[in-house]
């Protein structure tokens, strides 16, 4: 990992330089909201190496306040007093919603919750005037106040976000309503708004993850498709475990899932409609295997691997049929294709050079350009939703890594290292990567893990049992 740490340090220096250019280094006096934004902005810009994305929100006067010491970023402290139950039947919901919002924010690693025991002001009524000095005294940079009520069978959540040190509200208060069964989604939506206001980036909490739930011994593993909230809640099984299923992938609209199934005895691609939980096999050429499918961003076509006579190439077909189109024609293995967000290009892996490496070609095929040149083997590339990075699995010296590189192959950074990490999937905002980590040996098993693209905040995603092949949905609507 020495190599990658070195690279990361270099990247940080680069970003700090860029950040200054973008207006962090102003001499103007502190102005609260700007100050809080700059605090996280600087931290996040350093994390993601894309200061250009963050720049618009920073193009204002504000102090430089980069809390980075050797790559460690101090999380922003926030206070979230218990949400006020405004109707008697909303008490339990109010408590749970507050908990989910706090867990979403702290789960990013960018925020830290100040324990309620430390709070000085008590918020018993939603419209209570904020006593800023009370919150400044406990060093809360952000204050989140909320109210929950039941109105005509609907669950209603309203909230306000305050910038404590500038002594003002940050953005307008908002109110959201839904059926009580959707209370977690409401909480995630509130957390997304708060995250977005403070960081200037889109959120990712109101999203789902489709994955393969695993059970049974290693030599007879049973696999079934499951879908859950991004944080592991609300698991729902989509198939039974009568046959092997692999590598599900969401459509960009979040309504369909492609996966590979052995239900005919041979690997074939199936498309599942989430609303009806009904699936159909895609047409195939007899005597071939098809696998590694992924939707185009517009959802109209599917790129996939087709194996014939021992040779695997990339093909494309329309979701609603039509003549499949061959994209590569090489005696090597071409697989794991992934579209650029604009749909114009495809990144994939090929062993045409002798080992697995990453290549980019036009979405209509043609001569590919190799982008990976480091030591080891590179596979399972996935284009980030922002378009600037490709996440991948790297094998080197007997270890597996999840890493990211720019789409021209530069600035490679390894984020993880273990016996077996593979199959990265991007959060909707391109900040977090979820992947499979498998432990070794006869008793070894797979689990879902996530990591920030800085390599920080590595953690296991809770699932009811063993799990593999996560695929993150877009932000839900």
């Amino acid at each position: 990992m020495r190599h990658s740490r070195q690279k990361f340090a270099d990247a940080q220096r680069l970003v700090m330089r860029c950040a200054c250019k973008d207006g962090y280094s102003s001499n103007n006096p502190t102005k609260g909201t700007t100050r809080m934004k700059a605090f996280l902005k600087a931290a996040m810009a350093a994390l993601i190496l894309t200061p250009a994305v963050a720049a618009p929100a920073l193009a204002q006067n504000g102090p430089l306040r980069i809390e980075i010491t050797e790559g460690v970023i101090e999380p922003l402290p926030f206070a979230l007093p218990a949400f006020v139950a405004e109707t008697p039947d909303a008490t339990e919901m109010a408590a749970q919603i507050g908990q989910v919002i706090a867990a979403d924010l702290t789960g990013t690693g960018l925020f830290r919750e100040i324990p309620r025991e430390a709070h000085i002001q008590r918020i018993g009524v939603f419209d209570t005037p904020v006593s800023y000095s009370d919150w400044q005294a406990i060093n809360a940079q952000a204050l989140i106040v909320g109210g929950v009520s039941m109105q005509g069978g609907k669950l209603v959540v309203k909230f306000r976000l305050f910038d404590v040190f500038s002594g003002q509200q940050m953005g307008d208060g908002q109110q959201l309503a839904a059926s009580p069964a959707s209370w977690r989604r409401l909480a995630h939506k509130v957390a997304d708004v708060i995250y977005s206001r403070i960081t200037g980036e889109g959120g990712y909490f109101d999203s789902r993850v489709v994955y393969v739930a695993e059970s049974g011994p290693k030599d007879a593993r049973q696999k079934r498709l499951a879908v859950m909230d991004y944080d592991g809640a609300n698991t729902q099984y989509l198939t039974d475990s009568s046959t092997i299923v692999l590598a599900p992938r969401f459509s960009n609209a979040g309504d369909k899932v492609l996966y590979t199934t052995f239900e005919t005895g041979f690997p074939r691609i199936k498309m599942l409609d989430l609303a009806s939980v009904s699936a159909r096999l895609l047409p195939e050429v007899p005597g071939t295997m098809t696998f590694a499918p992924r939707f185009s961003p517009d959802g109209a076509s599917i790129v996939y691997s087709l194996e014939q006579g021992g040779n695997t190439d990339l093909w494309k077909m329309g979701v609603d049929g039509g003549q499949p189109q061959r994209l590569t024609n090489s005696p090597s293995i071409e697989t794991a294709p992934s579209y650029s967000p604009d749909g114009s290009r495809i990144v994939f892996e090929s062993d045409r050079s002798g080992t697995q490496q990453l290549y980019i070609m036009s979405a209509s095929g043609g001569e590919p350009t190799r982008i990976s040149f480091g030591e080891g083997r590179y596979g399972t590339p996935v284009w980030s939703p922002r378009g600037d990075l490709v996440a991948f699995t790297k094998q080197h010296a007997g270890r597996f890594h999840i890493g990211v590189m720019r789409t021209d192959g530069s600035e490679e950074r390894l984020l993880t290292a273990s016996f077996l990490d593979e199959g990265p999937s991007w959060s909707p905002n391109g900040r977090v990567i979820m992947f499979t980590r498998e432990s070794p040996g006869a008793e070894g098993g797979a689990a879902l893990w996530s990591v920030d693209i800085s390599g920080r905040n590595l953690k296991r995603v809770p699932t009811p049992g063993a799990a593999s092949d996560p695929a993150w949905s877009p932000l839900l609507r």
Partner: protein, 173 residues
């Protein structure tokens, strides 16, 4: 296409039946599975003492061949086993075979599926070169999904990088 559509449908049906039987290893004392085949063609394996039985094919002739890391090239030992398989298939025209390709766990899922297909195809091509009709053979890859040995050392990996010839019933049987 190498395969008659009818044969493909039949074989696919048999394989599906096999997949839907979770107890396929538990029943039938005397059934041997030295090659670690995942599908069993949905047929009776018979006795290993009966030279005409799939069990004899698996245990005595040898139903599996091993590969080096990342390779699908047949070793001399593999060729010798496959020559025996071809001979047996030649004298038992009522049977067909599904060739399963497998990989060890040291690789990504998609790549291992493709690698397993390469291995299965190597075996198929060799059997055809030894006179077995390609219409009697079908390949499938399980990638790293069905290891035979479960430890995470080369000792197990070398057993898992394999192709297994699974005997199934032929047309009209």
């Amino acid at each position: 296409m190498k395969f008659a559509t009818k044969a493909v449908i039949l074989l696919a049906g048999l394989a599906l039946a096999a997949c839907n039987n979770p107890d396929k290893y538990a029943s039938g004392a005397g059934v041997v599975d030295p090659g670690g085949a995942y599908g069993d063609g949905g047929i009776s394996q018979g006795s290993i003492n009966d030279p005409n039985s799939p069990a004899y094919f698996a245990a005595t002739i040898g139903d599996k061949v091993l590969f080096a890391v990342d390779q699908s090239t047949l070793t001399p030992e593999a060729r010798s086993i496959l020559a025996g398989q071809a001979q047996w298939l030649g004298s038992h025209p009522a049977y067909n075979a599904i060739i399963e390709g497998h990989a060890d766990e040291q690789g990504t899922r998609e790549y291992n599926l493709a690698l397993g297909a390469r291995r299965a195809n190597s075996v198929q091509e060799y059997l055809v070169s030894q006179g077995v009709s390609s219409a009697r053979l079908r390949t499938v890859s399980y990638g790293k999904e069905r290891p035979l040995a479960v430890c995470s050392t080369e000792d197990c990996y070398s057993k898992n990088r394999r192709a297994v010839t699974v005997i199934s019933m032929g047309l009209g049987s």
